[in-house]
Amino acid sequence: MSRSAFFFDSAACSGCKACQVACKDKNDLPVGQLWRRIYEVSGGGWKKQGDAWTHDVFAYNLSLSCNHCEDPICATHCPTKAIYKRADGIVLIDRDACIGCKYCAWACPYGAPQFNPHSGVMGKCDLCADYVDEGRNPGCVDACPMRALDFGDYDELVEKHGESGHVYPLPDPSITGPSIVIRAHANAGGDEARVSNIEEVA
């Protein structure tokens, strides 16, 4: 496989966080480490019209881990080459080489690399490379009750699920070439969208 990638169906995601916790369970992550995390985006407001309340409220979720980018800015900046890309596109961190300088975390526009104060080094989603090598799906993908996550080759995923929708608050995909195909929620693009669960993701 040339470019390992995720598919994420924002239209179907409820924000239930089964994927987040499955990832924590698999990787034994302490509180504060969210290799996969769910951003709740909401916006819109309320108007009183006579006795009725009308609204244009909207909300959608984004479940994100590391996107194993084509052009991983994290690796470009890493001084130790601890971050490297495998032939199948998986971007990994060599924990033994990492000095914990946090440079990758500054640079990654997806908040993927997370410094682990217990181990002193960076951690991030490894796409469950061990499972992938066994021919299995990543843990989070198979955990999703809504079947909103998928894993595969980028081009095949685009073909299977359609084009990506890098909606707010995702950065311009041209920066890093993220290997994630996203189906946007019908609500995406509303006015005054903001991440409303910051304390749960940062």
Binding site: S14, D51, A143, S196
Partner: protein, 727 residues
């Protein structure tokens, strides 16, 4: 599993994941179970109270002493007050036929019985209300049938969060893929509204019947309802079909058109009550009536309210009016247990209770406080009166004594009184707010540490084997083993165990399931040989409830007094309480509401929905879950601004019954005037009398619903203020 610890949870990974036989994928709570399992606070030894009740001071004792104590007090209370003073309360902590309260029920039934209860905290109103309409609680098609539906109303139903049977949300997604339009009617823009709904309609809590009535008004006045179906299959819809002897009573159409009360139930009328714009109400009525086949699915939150019976009945009537009963893609509403028989609640032989007296599950506080005063008026059945109140309470897998029951401050007052409640046993895995009040705490092991078996909750065609994969740690024991040890002390060990251990019971129960539900079910040996965890029966051709009735109502009558769908209910009529228990479904203003005078003092409606990170209070102490979904007061920007609240700030929510303090989350995803405090956080009384754990039951009322004697824990009024300001 490694080194006596579970390393990783993997759930159903059977190959193939189809609509007929989907994988059973765990929610985030199932995913985090390891951190519950390995929690440092697990109960490890039997403990006896040393301080005041509720102080949480205990001394470790041996199992021998503990089982002695249980046996002694059982015998003493039986002698002094009789078996009706023993009580095992409602408790849902264990979904295992060999766990939770079933083994204790069996024990007490062998010991001469105990005061029983009927109904539940979950479905107190919806079950009898459904039966009052349809004569049965099996009103649901199998869920795969949703794929035949063109229009689905999730009315106060939030399957993404409360699941309602594994895969409900998956079937919904598939239905939507096939073109169903989905509407969510809920005061909150729930996780389900985001994942499933094309439209979210925010409704003022407790006013759904007003909207339903206005929908009926539109359907009647615009001639949209299924006249043929109503004529053939219903009773009491209009004056033409009132049951014999009830011709002078108010029919449903009379009520809707305002023939007697002078108030037609128009969308304008409903708008004032529900806060839903009139044109939206009318449009939903038209869409629902016009859809070929439509589902009006009722969640249970809105029946855990003041007149919870009415909302269930009104929804069922709409389903009947639109002719969605008995047809593929349709839905009869109500409790909607699976047609053709769903999971059994209980298959482990608890034996017959020699004591016939039963109270409604929610009224145990009254039975402790004033047992001999209870009569049929308070829902007592099986006896005219109770000789004494409850004197010995044995709570197994239940946090319903303190945390999950209403009005915690009142409840703990009752439970503290040793002259009322003489002995209190709690059997759990953690020192819950309930367990802190116990005289004796018995440490139960978890489902991974004993054998178990279960066949799903409400829906599903599967049997789940729960093999023992770890030894019970410390001195914990399985619920069954605990009861067996007490049986030994009582000298009824042989009758109790029939010589079986847990695994042998599981094997026997599998045989029972095979006989009664799944002829193909493998034996325990086959399960083990093939390393199976789940047996499931694919659903190719989903069952549709009331199919035969719809085709030929005369020859397949319902089990109601009229044999028809009772829009006018004889059962409710017989109550002779037309104000609170009207025979046709009516909107009744709740006893605490934003409309009444008291609403001025406490202007905010509070709802306590079931929260993703917990099952009630279970998992409340698990770090991963608290991280993912911290306990909050969810409040609309309009209300927050009026109170000068900043996002994340601590807010104090209070009414006459109590107060709690929690950080707030300001979110537009809730109707103005309503705040949400997810139920199940652990009650934690602070120094100033506020609950700093954030248990919504600090605010709820013990008042029960008029017909079902059910809990109305979602009906709360309160006020909120910045916590710092008032101190």
């Amino acid at each position: 599993v490694r080194d006596g610890m579970i390393r990783r949870i993997e759930t159903d990974d059977r190959p193939g994941d189809t609509v007929a036989d989907p994988q059973l994928r765990a929610c985030m709570r199932g995913r985090s179970y390891r951190h519950r399992q390995d929690h440092p606070d697990r109960l490890k030894y039997p403990m006896k109270r040393t301080g005041e009740r509720g102080a949480g001071e205990f001394r470790r004792i041996s199992w021998d002493e503990a089982t002695d104590l249980v046996a002694q007090h059982l015998v003493r209370v039986r002698e002094q007050y009789g078996n009706t003073s023993l009580y095992i309360p409602y408790g849902t902590g264990s979904y295992n036929q060999l766990g939770g309260k079933w083994p204790a029920d069996r024990l007490l039934n062998l010991f001469g019985g105990a005061l029983g209860y009927y109904n539940s905290y979950s479905w107190a109103c919806i079950t009898p209300a459904t039966i009052s309409v349809y004569g049965t609680d099996e009103t649901g098609n199998q869920r795969q049938d949703w794929l035949n539906s063109k229009y689905i109303i999730m009315w106060g139903w939030n399957p993404s969060e409360m699941r309602d049977g594994t895969n409900s949300e998956y079937f919904l997604k598939e239905a939507r893929k096939k073109g169903a339009r989905v509407v969510c009617i809920d005061p909150r823009m729930t996780l389900s509204a985001v994942a499933h709904a094309d439209e979210w309609i925010a409704i003022r809590p407790g006013t759904d019947v007003a909207m339903m009535s206005a929908m009926a008004y539109v359907m009647i006045t615009e001639g949209l309802y299924d006249r043929d179906f109503v004529q053939r299959c219903c009773s009491g819809f209009d004056a033409s079909q009132m049951p014999a002897g009830r011709e002078d009573e108010e029919s449903y159409s009379d009520y809707i058109l305002g023939a007697r009360d002078g108030q037609p139930k128009t969308p304008e009328w409903a708008e004032r009550i529900t806060a839903v714009p009139r044109d939206v109400i009318a449009r939903i009525a038209r869409e629902y009536a016009a859809a070929d086949a439509a589902v009006l699915y009722q969640g249970y939150g809105m029946q855990r309210r003041a007149y919870g019976e009415q909302v269930v009945r009104a929804g069922c009537v709409l389903a009947a009016m639109t002719g969605n009963v008995g047809k593929p893609g349709g839905w009869a509403s109500g409790i909607a247990l699976q047609a053709g028989g769903g999971p059994f609640w209980n298959i482990f032989p608890v034996l017959e209770n020699p004591v016939k007296a039963q109270i409604p599950s929610f009224l145990w506080t009254e039975a402790v406080l004033r047992g001999p005063e209870l009569t049929a008026q308070q829902g007592l059945v099986g006896a005219e009166r109770l000789p004494h109140g409850i004197k010995l309470l044995w709570a197994v897998a239940s946090n319903c004594i303190v945390n999950q029951h209403a009005n915690i401050n009142r409840t703990v007052g009752i439970v503290r009184d040793e002259s009322l409640l003489e002995f209190f046993i709690v059997q759990d895995q953690f020192l819950t707010p309930t367990a802190r009040f116990a005289d004796l705490v018995l440490p139960a092991c978890t489902q991974f540490e004993t054998w178990g078996v279960e066949d799903g909750w409400k829906y599903g065609e599967e049997v789940l084997l729960q093999p023992q994969i770890l030894d019970p740690p410390w001195e914990t024991k399985s619920d069954y083993a605990i009861c067996a040890a007490v049986a030994e002390k009582l000298g009824i060990a042989q009758e109790y165990t029939e010589g079986r251990d847990e695994k042998q019971w599981v094997s026997a129960l599998l045989d029972e399931y095979r006989e009664r539900r799944f002829p193909e079910l493998p034996t325990l040996e086959e399960f083990e040989d093939k390393n199976l965890g789940v047996y499931s029966r694919p659903v190719e051709e989903p069952q549709v409830a009331f199919r035969e009735f719809r085709e030929d109502p005369e020859n397949h009558p319902l089990d109601t007094p009229s044999g028809k769908i009772e829009v006018f209910s004889e059962l409710l009529f017989a109550r002779n309480q037309p104000g609170e228990v009207p025979p046709v479904p009516k909107y009744i203003e709740e006893w605490e509401s934003p409309f009444e005078a008291g609403g001025k003092k406490y202007p905010l409606q509070v709802i306590g929905p079931h929260f993703m990170p917990r099952v009630h209070s279970t998992f409340a102490n698990v770090d991963w879950n608290r991280e993912a979904f911290p306990q909050r007061v969810f409040i609309n920007p309009v209300d927050a601004e009026a109170r000068g609240l900043r996002n994340g700030e601590k807010v104090r929510v209070f009414n006459d019954r109590g107060s709690l303090i929690l950080p707030c989350r300001i979110t537009p995803r809730i109707l103005p005037g309503v705040i949400s405090i997810p139920q199940g956080a652990w009650w934690q009384p602070g120094d100033e009398g506020d609950d700093i754990g954030g248990a919504v039951n600090t605010l709820t009322s013990e008042r029960w619903t008029p017909y079902a004697f059910g809990n109305a824990q979602h009906t709360i009024m309160a006020e909120a203020e910045p916590a710092e300001r008032q101190k």
